[in-house]
């Protein structure tokens, strides 16, 4: 029923949008040069234009139009070189040789060389941007100005390595700007100098960024447009109004409320598409704190799966723009996703039975036990999900005290103080499961004070050993089998329950061409976007 409803809803929104989107994105004529594109996203202004450690989606959105990575992943799943022309592993997979693209210049006219790549990897990636993914990194050499060799202490699978090169904020930064400074506080973070298709011109705080065309861009003839404006509108209704009035032409990552998507696409002047988020799927999860003896029992954690109606969450909280999660690896992940996991359907009777078996029988009207449920307040939807989870658990006899603290309090309580029994949180994971997904399940993922890691306290030697194998298995088929085994173990142990996978939406004017053509479109450079007359 929920799926039918979602389809019906989608008929008015997505099908129309996708049909128009197909025309807009792939059936266009000769690209039109010049003009200004005004874009926005479904969040606020960043703390800095570029944050070396990432800093969340907002600085990723603003910085990715200026900076570039060594590689990039295509919509068909292929990895292609961006600032690198190619990369090749050694026979033992313990080193990779990267050939750099010649003729690339930074925005200040200085050439990009191997020195910049060495500095970026050693000082930015290793320390900030990709620290958790580079635990086996052993150093880098630059045999000549156009080649670097990355070394590792263990064999590194090709998929992992390519994913590292394409990592969200694994950019190549200019050594001459950053060397000798603290990268976190470098003033250039607010007026970056990079290699990308757009050059920073101005940041009017509280309003917008203005970028202009990089005339010396290495992709000759790109970008098509003269200017790109990233405008910040805090209120979703304000964004919808700005789009409708023509002030903003494209909004990524759910820029407007679902009813407004339907209204805007209904005018025939806008398209809405879920494309462009395949490498950045968001989910909402329920984390069990295993420091509480009740949740140390596996049956109790599994019971949480069965007690919560996740179709209801997808339908009512996300208006159908979500689907129940079945695995810590999300369903758009073509490489590793499997349905062969612990079956987690909504089944209150099974939940009650599991709780009985765990030693928490229901006695009259008294609850089996009480839990503190924390719904992280960084997304408004989490509080609504909290109400549904509370209802589901109370229906199977578990008393729930629900709180919805704001962002800083949620981060402190979940990831520093571990002050929760159950926590509704969110994750955004790329296709490569190590470490972004696996760190929620491994012992080394337990890092007090570091958010979006293993807050449940789950620690199992078999899981740690399995993840270690995944890290070093260089045969793609064998590695996939190991990741499937990981998904089975993760769902059976259930320290971290994937409630729903979210479907992010881009809304764009039908005049906008060549959009949503990258699996991480929020973090893409938009070098080929253009605006029809």
């Amino acid at each position: 029923m929920a799926n039918v409803t979602r389809r019906i809803f989608g008929a008015g929104v997505l099908v129309t949008g996708l049909a128009a989107g197909t025309r807009a994105s792939w059936a266009q004529g000769e690209p039109r040069r010049g003009g200004t594109l005004v874009a926005t996203w479904g969040g606020g202004e960043p703390q800095a234009c570029y944050v070396p450690s990432g800093g969340g989606s907002s600085p990723t959105f603003s910085s990715s139009k200026l900076f570039e990575r060594l590689g990039n992943r295509q919509m068909n799943g292929d990895f292609v070189g961006e600032l690198a022309e190619s990369w090749k592993p050694a026979d033992d997979f313990k080193s990779y040789t990267i050939k750099l693209r010649p003729g690339v210049k930074f925005h200040d006219g200085k050439p990009m060389t191997a020195d910049d790549v060495v500095y970026s990897i050693d000082e930015i990636w290793k320390k900030y941007a990709a620290a958790s993914a580079m635990t086996d990194y052993a150093g880098i050499e630059a045999p000549d100005a156009a080649t670097v060799v990355m070394k590792f202490g263990k064999p590194i699978p090709e998929f992992f390595f390519a994913s590292l090169l394409c990592g969200n904020v694994n950019y190549i930064v200019p050594k001459h700007v950053y060397a000798g400074s603290d990268p976190i506080t470098n003033a250039a973070n607010n007026a970056p100098i990079a290699t990308g298709p757009w050059k920073f011109k101005e940041w009017v705080r509280g309003s917008h960024f203005e970028y202009v065309r990089n005339e010396d861009y290495w992709r000759k003839g790109f970008p098509y447009m003269d200017r790109l404006i990233i405008r910040y509108v805090r209120d979703p209704a304000g964004r919808a109004a700005a789009m409708e009035s023509g002030e903003i032409q494209i909004g990524v990552f759910n820029p407007v409320a679902p009813p407004d998507i339907k209204r805007l696409t209904g005018t025939g002047k806008f398209v809405a598409t879920p494309k462009g988020y395949e490498e950045a799927v968001w989910s909402t999860s329920l984390e069990c704190n295993m420091r509480n003896p009740i949740f140390a029992k596996r049956e109790v954690r599994q019971a949480m799966f069965h007690a919560v109606d996740r179709n209801l969450i997808a339908k009512t909280v996300y208006y159908g723009y979500a689907r129940p999660g079945t695995s810590p690896i999300f369903s758009p992940n073509k490489e590793f996703f499997t349905l062969d996991t612990y079956k987690t359907g909504f089944d209150p009777k099974k939940a009650a039975s599991l709780l009985d078996g765990a030693g928490y029988p229901k006695k009259g009207n008294a609850p089996r036990f009480s839990v503190n449920l924390l719904a992280a307040g960084w997304f408004a939807e989490n509080g609504k999900i909290g109400a549904i989870v509370k209802q589901g658990l109370e229906d199977v006899g578990v008393a729930v005290n629900l709180t919805v603290p704001d962002r800083p309090t949620s981060i402190k309580r979940i990831y520093t103080d571990y002050d929760f029994d159950l926590a509704i949180s969110n994750q955004a994971n790329p296709s490569e499961p190590v470490p972004s997904t696996t760190q929620y399940y491994t012992t080394d993922g337990i890092k007090k004070g570091v958010p979006f890691r293993n807050a449940s306290g789950f620690s199992k030697p078999e899981m740690d050993a399995l993840v270690e194998k995944i890290k070093v298995e260089t045969d793609p088929a064998k590695r996939k089998a190991l990741v499937v085994e990981f998904q089975k173990m993760a769902t059976v142990e259930a320290p971290n329950l994937p409630l729903v996978e979210l479907e992010s939406i881009t809304v764009a004017s039908t005049r906008v061409q060549n959009h949503s053509n990258d699996p991480n479109y929020l973090g893409a450079s938009w070098y080929d976007i253009w605006l029809a007359a």
Binding site: Q47, T185, H208, I229, G238, A241, P405, P408, K412, T416
Partner: protein, 337 residues
């Protein structure tokens, strides 16, 4: 005559001195209360910063703690903050990566512009509507003013703002949806200082109406009742008996005295106008301190929050001193203690 003027000037100077002396403990109270309250809130900017930067190394966390003076007990941090404030040092904002005063200075002009225009609109419209209603009491004009005042008093300003955007920006296309100016001249409205000023004024209209009409409704109601009350007083009857026209009596005698309660409210409401601008700035993407304050509270950016509170308090204190001086101008009999 000269003696009388000098006496009033001396009284005004005495008042100014007294108010400035009183402002010192008031400001200290504002700083202490806000400092304590924000430090009582769970989560800290250090935790958020280490979270955003994925810092897990205890030595780095400790270094950052020392860098931002967070290793001291709270009372010592407070003493250091007050001492720095006395030297006009508002601290450093890690989030904006700049001194707090610079971060606020970027956004403050927009908020002051919105506040001043909203208060001016509220005062002009409210007083005019109140005068009309009192002069046409129990007529259609009176009813119209009462109904309009009730509507704008009851309508939440954020809702009013959104409705204005839908009507005047989206449907009619007369006004911009938001922002303070046309980005990069996209509107094609020409260049130059004059065109720039016109552009800002164009963007200012809707937020000013959304914020100001609520206060205009209050002033209209207060002005109406104040006018009716003053009109019954003996000196007004005397003025009429002396043969002054209705207009002369209303403007020269009734209006001036009836303004006192409105001026009182105006002074008191400076703080709430500043608070209201937080919401309106969000609806209209107005780049003022409201947005900065919202972001700073969300990120526990204490130095910026405290800086805005201190500067906001200074604005309110200055406005109230100005109101006291206006009292003395409106009614020379008043001697404020």
């Amino acid at each position: 005559m000269i003696t009388a003027v000098s006496s009033r000037q001396r009284a005004a100077l005495r008042l100014l001195r007294r108010r400035l002396v009183q402002a010192v403990p008031l400001m200290l109270g504002v700083v202490v209360i806000n400092f304590v309250l924000i430090h009582m809130a769970p989560g800290s900017f250090l935790e958020l910063m280490t979270a955003e930067n994925q810092v897990s190394d205890p030595a780095t966390v400790e270094l950052l703690r020392k860098t931002y003076g967070l290793e001291d007990p709270t009372w010592l941090q407070l003493v250091k903050y007050v001492w720095a404030l006395l030297h006009l040092d508002f601290g450093f904002s890690y989030r904006q990566n700049m001194p707090v005063i610079q971060a606020i200075a970027i956004n403050l002009p927009a908020t002051l512009l919105l506040m001043v225009s909203s208060i001016a609109l509220a005062f002009a419209v409210g007083v005019a509507a109140g005068v009309v209603a009192s002069m046409k009491v129990r007529t259609g004009w009176d009813t119209l003013v009462s109904v309009a005042a009730m509507f704008f008093f009851a309508a939440p300003s954020f809702w009013l703002g959104i409705m204005m955007i839908v009507l005047f920006a989206v449907k009619l296309g007369w006004m911009p949806v938001g922002g303070m100016s046309t980005i990069g001249g996209l509107g094609g409205s020409g260049s130059g200082l004059f065109a720039g000023i016109l552009d800002v004024l164009h963007h200012l209209i809707l937020p000013t109406l959304a914020l100001g009409l609520f206060y205009a409704a209050i002033y209209a109601r207060v002005m109406r009742s104040s006018m009716l009350e003053v009109a019954q007083l003996d000196f007004v009857r005397t003025a009429r008996a002396k043969g002054l026209s209705r207009r002369q009596v209303t403007i020269g005698h009734v209006l001036r005295n009836a303004l006192l309660p409105v001026v009182t409210i105006l002074g008191v409401q400076m703080g709430t106008v500043l608070a209201g601008s937080v919401v309106i700035e969000s609806v209209f993407s107005w780049p003022g301190v409201g947005s900065l304050l919202f972001d700073s509270v969300s990120s526990r950016n204490y130095p910026v929050v405290l800086g805005i509170m201190v500067l906001g308090s200074l604005v309110v204190i200055a406005a109230n001193i100005a109101v006291d001086l206006v009292y003395m101008w409106l009614d020379p009999r008043i001697e404020i203690r």
